[in-house]
Structures are given as structure tokens and as C-alpha cells.
């Protein structure tokens, strides 16, 4: 897939590296600060272009018309919004993703037809909340139009699923475990045989209404049984 990343800050650069490491994507970063462009060029040659990613002429030069996805990750929400809108309106880019710096803008972006919003604040909250004893699902990403979202959680020590294979877990309707990251940091797409351990980080896709059932299924302690 051809992915255009608007904004060559830390987020954009890391994202480009990760996508390139996948080996399946063509990636271009558009950055308007010439110094940053030079810096990125030393690290990732031929992957960066100088320009304002909100400008149609720049996006055209970047080959936006054949891009599968445009990901706007600058530090300014208004720039991310406009970049996604120009990509959609003028170049029919099938999927636009915007980083949201102010979580209040989530509602606006989705109303204005940005496909996916990613909130840095939510990601930071995820890290903070993982340190807290309360067991919450961390909303990581909302998938526009589907009513689905990606959530993260950590399997607590007293969870009913510790030591259990994925296939034995009764997940609610419209929920699926997409990724399991073990304590060794190894991420894997689980099969039915994957055993869950305490401390595993789980990314799951779920419908908003079934969030609570999902939390219950993965994080609640075992049901007490009468013998």
C-alpha cells in the first residue's frame, strides 16, 4: 500500500520506520520544515518531501491520487483535519487518518468525515492507567462508521482467563482479540490455542455497547463455584 504521512515529527518518523519495516508499504513523509526534511533524509533517504501537506499542489506532486491512505500526524489539529479533507475531496484517498492532539476534537473530526482518529492523549492515558490498580479498557482508536473501536487492556493476575486458551473465552458479540503482547514484548496475532497470561497486553476490537461485557470476559476474576 502507498501511505502518505503528513508531518515529520517524532510520531511521523517513527510511523514511517514501522511501516517500512513491514516491508509491504511504500511510504512518503511530507514535512514543511526544511531542517527536519534534511534530518529525516539522513535517516530515511528518498522517503521525505519538503512541502505543506495541506496544499493540493504538494499532495499532487506526492502522488496523492494513488495513495491508499493519508495519515496526518502534525501537532496541529486544524492542519491534520484540512490535510485529510483535501486528500478525500480532491484526490479520493480511500482512507484518511488524523492524529488528534486535543481529545475534544474527536467528535468534530468524525463528523467531518475523517475515517480514523488517533488521540495521543488516549495513548498516554493508556500508559498511566496501566499503572493504576483499577481495571479499565483503554480506548485506542475509533473506527468511523462501524460503531467499532480498538481497545487495549492488560490481563490482571486474578483474571478468569489467566492460563486459558483464547478459544475457551466467551467473547461478546462483535468482539475479537486482535493482538496479544506478552511480558517479553513479543506481539502476536492469537490463534485459538494461544494461552493468555497475567500481564499480557491485549488489543481487541469491540462494539461500543459490548465494551463492558468484553472487560468482564477478560478482566473479571473467576466466577466462584459451589462444590
Amino acid at each position: 500500500m502507498y501511505m502518505i504521512i503528513v508531518g515529520g515529527g517524532k510520531v511521523g518518523l517513527q510511523l514511517a520506520k514501522d511501516l517500512l519495516a513491514d516491508g509491504m508499504h511504500e511510504v512518503l513523509i511530507i514535512e514543511q520544515d526544511a531542517e527536519k526534511v534534511t534530518e529525516i533524509g539522513q535517516d530515511l533517504p528518498d522517503v521525505v518531501m519538503l512541502g505543506d501537506g495541506c496544499e493540493a499542489t504538494v499532495l499532487e506532486k506526492a502522488g496523492c491520487a494513488r495513495a491508499n491512505m493519508l495519515i496526518a500526524v502534525t501537532g496541529d489539529d486544524e492542519d491534520n483535519l484540512v490535510s485529510c479533507q483535501v486528500a478525500k475531496q480532491r484526490f479520493n484517498v480511500p482512507r484518511t487518518v488524523a492524529r488528534i492532539n486535543n481529545p475534544k476534537n474527536d467528535e468534530i473530526f468524525r463528523k467531518l468525515e475523517v475515517d480514523i482518529t488517533v488521540s495521543a492523549t488516549s495513548a498516554i492515558m493508556a500508559h498511566i492507567e496501566q499503572e493504576l490498580p483499577t481495571h479499565h479498557l483503554i480506548p485506542l482508536m475509533k473506527l468511523k462508521g462501524s460503531g467499532l473501536e480498538v481497545v487495549g487492556l492488560r490481563i490482571p493476575e486474578d483474571s478468569r482467563v489467566v492460563g486459558q486458551p483464547v478459544r475457551s473465552i466467551m467473547l461478546p458479540y462483535q468482539s475479537i482479540i486482535a493482538l496479544v503482547v506478552g511480558e517479553d514484548g513479543q506481539a502476536k496475532v492469537p490463534t485459538g490455542d494461544t494461552i493468555l497470561h497475567a500481564g499480557d497486553e491485549v488489543m481487541a476490537v469491540t462494539a461500543h455497547e459490548t465494551e463492558e461485557s468484553l472487560r468482564e470476559a477478560l478482566m473479571a476474576p473467576p466466577v466462584a463455584r459451589a462444590f
Binding site: 495541506c54 496544499e55 493540493a56 499542489t57 496541529d76 489539529d77 486544524e78 492542519d79 483535519l81 484540512v82 479533507q85 483535501v86 475531496q89 480532491r90 486535543n102 475534544k104 476534537n105 467528535e107 468534530i108 463528523k111 467531518l112
Partner: protein
């Protein structure tokens, strides 16, 4: 009498605020920089608010839902069109207008249903006419014609 919000108190925003105030409308001017309000004329009867027009809470606090007109005229095109879309699509303000310097973006957002103006092309054409005038006096005459056309 209309309730009008003008975001961006630069020279254009301030001049528009003064005109709307003189026409008897209830005007509120919004700018992130309190020093910007110096552009408003003495005797301006409207309200000034320091705040960012792309912040939902700021807009709610100033009562955006009951407003008749929202104008964004800051220096930033993206800020202007984002604020205008919030006013129109989130808060349902009936008349929403923006200045957009980039002609391509201006056309795009006009096609998307915003009221927009693009000063860039007109100004470039006018500057060209002035430099093409045979001498300074002739250039001055043309400049006055422009002012007369604008009713200034």
C-alpha cells in the same frame, strides 16, 4: 439585528466588526491575542473575547448556538475552515463565512458548502494593474478606483 461572531481581530476582522456594529448588529470578536483588539475603533459597542475559535468549549461559552452569523478571518486558512465547519456542522449556525488565502482550498471548501472568499487572486491582479500604470500619478488614480469599487 443579527448576532455575529467574528474570529480573528486582524485588520480585516476588526474592520468588518466595526461595519457590522455600525449597521446595528450585535457583534462579538474573538482572538487568541488580547493585543489584537487595538484594531477595533473607539466607540465599538460589541464584545471582545480572548480565546481560540476552534475550541468547542470556548465556542459554547460564548453562546455559539444562538448566533446568526459566524465569520473566520484569522491568518490561518486551516484554522478558518476548521472553525467554520464546527460552527456550521456542529452548532448549526445559519450563516458561516471564511477568508481562505489558498485559492485551491478556497474553491474546495466553497464546493463543500461553506461561504468563502479568496483575496489572493484579486489582490495580485490589482497589484499588477498598479505596476503596469504608466506613472505614479496614474497608479494613484487606479488605486482610488479600487477604493471606490469597495465602497471605502
Amino acid at each position: 439585528m443579527k448576532k455575529v461572531v467574528i474570529m480573528g481581530c486582524g485588520r480585516v476582522g476588526a474592520a468588518l466588526a466595526a461595519d457590522m456594529d455600525a449597521d446595528g448588529h450585535q457583534v462579538l470578536v474573538l482572538d487568541t491575542d488580547p493585543a489584537a483588539f487595538r484594531f477595533l475603533p473607539e466607540g465599538f459597542r460589541g464584545t471582545t473575547v480572548v480565546g481560540n475559535g476552534i475550541d468547542l468549549d470556548v465556542l459554547r461559552r460564548l453562546g455559539i448556538e444562538g448566533m446568526d452569523v459566524f465569520v473566520s478571518a484569522t491568518r490561518g486558512d486551516n484554522r478558518n475552515v476548521m472553525a467554520a465547519q464546527i460552527a456550521k456542522h456542529i452548532f448549526g449556525v445559519p450563516v458561516v463565512a471564511s477568508r481562505v488565502f489558498d485559492p485551491i482550498r478556497e474553491e474546495m471548501y466553497r464546493n463543500m458548502g461553506l461561504r468563502t472568499i479568496n483575496p489572493t487572486r484579486v489582490q495580485a491582479r490589482r497589484l499588477k494593474k498598479i505596476i503596469e500604470a504608466p506613472d505614479d500619478d496614474a497608479a494613484n488614480v487606479i488605486a482610488h478606483e479600487f477604493l471606490a469599487q469597495d465602497g471605502a
